[in-house]
């Protein structure tokens, strides 16, 4: 973690500077825009709570990607798993009407299960037919997208409305909002805690990490790669599904609207990448990205920079952090090699002559 900190800071600072230059080049007041970005995401209670709201799906999709990539499962199916999770919770919430104490835990389970099913398809195809999950998960995204679109414009369409969306779920499945603080965030925090214990402290977590480092080594070392692979895929899908489910359970809307997935899933992939699949760093970057996204709205309000700028800024952050991580590592390696060489040379001077003589 400590080794990651320096390149991360360098990367973020350079990326923010690059963003500054882009804004300045386009004739926006750069410093004022940044001030708005942070004041609308952090420096008031309402702003802070909306940042946490936005962070909820990002933490979960980020964890989903981190668990996948970290154990060498290239699960790029977060968008699909997210949508299927959201759709399952919507269907469940419409069909079943129970008190909140039962309904909320059940809905969470439904979301987890639905996401896991969708990633489970890819895991099954991999195990059974050796098909690369990287392509199958990508293709399943499009299938999930069109499938949910079909449901909301056909069988599950709210006929009272004029755009494709479902009716509201029963109120038992709604997560409470306390004074503007959405309790969905607590679910995400709980999931984060569970995943980090699993990842860092459990036997299967160890197997995942070993598999992520080197699958052949982990197999030789006695890890049950096949089982661990399937569980990692299922957990990864379940987390993305939960992210989708919480979109329905939390907030104010409580219905599946076209485009509900927005870019949360791909943001999660980027978060895991920039965090180098470290669980704690994934959580932190999720918060950072949600600051950027929430603040972008304020920036648009104050200095009329289009809020889509946050998308650009995020991608630049990822590129620069990754680049600075690699270059620091190369630099460190070079320095280490240089030092070793110097030490070796020093030793050579001391005893080199004797050795050479004995060799000759």
């Amino acid at each position: 973690m400590k080794k990651q900190l320096l390149p991360a800071i360098i990367g973020i600072v350079v990326a923010l500077l690059a963003g500054l230059i882009i804004l300045w080049a386009q004739g926006y007041p750069p410093l004022q825009s940044y001030a708005a970005l942070f004041s609308y995401s952090l420096f008031s209670r309402f702003a802070f709570f909306s940042t946490l709201d936005k962070a909820t799906p990002l933490i979960l999709t980020g964890l989903s990607a981190a668990v996948g990539f970290g154990s060498n499962c290239v699960n790029l199916g977060q968008p699909g798993q997210f949508l299927i999770g959201a759709m399952a919770v919507t269907a469940f919430g419409i069909a079943v009407d129970l008190p909140a104490a039962i309904m909320i835990p059940l809905s969470i389970l439904v979301a987890l299960a639905a996401g896991a099913c969708w990633s489970g398809i890819a895991a099954g195809l991999r195990r059974r037919f050796n098909m690369d999950e990287f392509i199958t998960t990508l293709m399943l995204n499009f299938i999930a997208d069109y499938f949910t679109l079909y449901l909301i414009s056909g069988p599950m369409l709210d006929t009272k409305m004029y755009s494709p969306l479902t009716p509201m779920t029963n109120s038992g499945a709604w997560l409470p909002i306390w004074n503007g603080f959405g309790s969905a965030f607590l679910v995400a925090v709980a999931a984060f805690a569970v995943v980090s214990v699993l990842w860092n402290r459990s036997k299967i977590g160890y197997e995942w990490r070993a598999m992520g480092q080197n699958p052949i080594f982990s197999r030789t070392g006695g890890c049950r790669n096949d089982a661990a692979y399937v569980w990692a895929m299922l957990l990864s899908g379940a987390l993305a599904g939960l992210a989708g489910g919480l979109m329905i359970m939390g907030g104010m809307q409580h219905r599946f609207v076209k485009g509900i997935g927005a870019n949360y899933a791909w943001d999660g992939v980027m978060i895991a990448i920039v965090a180098n699949n470290n669980i704690l760093a994934t959580g932190l970057y999720a918060l950072f990205f949600s600051v950027l996204q929430t603040g972008a709205m304020g920036m648009e309000l104050e200095t009329s920079v289009p809020s889509e700028f946050s998308l650009v800024l995020q991608a630049i952050v990822v590129l620069f952090v990754v680049a600075s991580r690699e270059s620091t590592r190369m630099l460190m390696n070079n320095i280490a090699a240089e030092m070793r060489m110097k030490r070796a040379r020093g030793r050579d001077k001391g005893m080199g002559d004797g050795r050479r003589a004995s060799n000759g």
Binding site: V74, M139, L140, N141, Y150, N225, V312, L319
Partner: protein, 307 residues
């Protein structure tokens, strides 16, 4: 009969972007660069093509700026992957996001619209009527009258086949893919060849993007590449990067894409017909994996090389 002609015609039209991107990806495939950024390169190309065509009023400038857009994306990718030695998968994913974010942002910034940009001022690519062929019944409407990039794409397939398998550059390219260190050891810079391969893929993906936004349709929509770059990647894996195989497979995909379109208006809901190309990709991968599995099963290897 008319329906059949219409279907084959539309399959050629929808095959072209996959073919062009796939040919670009063939270069990186043989250089052993995992090029997941094709989707983004194509999207950027589609945007810059529309921007160029709209602002200059000439389709040629549009196509050229589409190529330039793809090339610029490729240069970023090459700079990170080859010079800074960042991970290909990581960089490619970030670049795809940059493409999505950047084009969405620029769409608002330059054209002040959200979602899609349409204008009569966008000049689309001219269509070519092939003199003698267009007279033949059936075959004429199938082969003639397409945007000219369709024909360029088919010619390029032959060119790339020749370029990769019959030239000195191609030999070096494949050697880099086999063993980069060995290539370095005989005094040829493997980094340079890798960068050239990435740039070639950028040019072809940019052309694919230009075709999408100026030929297939005449507009730019958010995320309009819609997974075609990924399908191209799947097709490359399925055909092991052989350009002739790419030509054939992209036609197969185009056929199913077109099939989806022509099934619209029947009993099947349109959302299901739109799924067809993606389902077909999974099915094709199934047959590919089964064949590969009986030949030689090495699951761990292929996975380790991916990420």
């Amino acid at each position: 009969m008319h329906l059949m002609v219409e279907m084959i015609r539309s399959s050629i039209l929808s095959a072209t972007p996959v073919l062009l991107a796939g040919l670009g990806g063939a270069y990186t495939y043989y250089a052993d660069v995992f090029n997941i950024a094709m989707e983004g390169m194509m999207l950027i190309g589609a945007f810059t093509a529309v921007a160029g065509s709209y602002s200059s009023g000439s389709w040629a400038v549009g196509v050229l700026s589409g190529i330039a857009g793809g090339l610029a994306a490729a240069l970023i990718f090459a700079f990170f992957v080859v010079s800074l030695k960042t991970d290909e998968f990581v960089t490619g994913t970030a670049l795809n996001m940059l493409a999505l974010g950047g084009t969405t942002y620029s769409l608002r910034q330059l054209f002040h619209v959200k979602g899609a940009f349409m204008s009569p001022a966008i000049q689309s690519i001219p269509r070519w009527n092939i003199p003698l062929v267009s007279e033949i019944p059936c075959l004429g409407p199938i082969l003639s009258g397409h945007p000219f990039i369709v024909y360029i794409g088919i010619l390029l397939a032959f060119f790339v086949e020749w370029h990769i398998f019959n030239t000195r550059f191609g030999l070096r390219l494949r050697a880099v893919g086999e063993d980069a260190i060995a290539v370095d050891s005989v005094g040829v810079s493997s980094d340079r060849i890798k960068a050239q391969a990435i740039m070639a893929s950028g040019v072809l993906c940019g052309l694919a993007g230009a075709y999408l936004s100026l030929g297939y349709v005449t507009l730019f929509a958010e995320n309009m590449s819609n997974g075609r770059g990924w399908i191209a990647l799947a097709v490359i894996i399925l055909t092991r990067g052989r350009p002739m195989g790419l030509l054939l497979m992209s036609l197969v995909f185009g056929f199913f894409d077109g099939l989806g379109l022509s099934l619209q208006g029947t009993m099947i809901p349109p959302q299901f017909t739109q799924m067809v190309p993606y389902v077909v990709t999974i099915v094709a991968l199934y047959f590919y994996s089964r064949e590969k599995g009986t030949a030689k099963g090495e699951p761990e290897q292929s996975k380790a090389s991916l990420s």
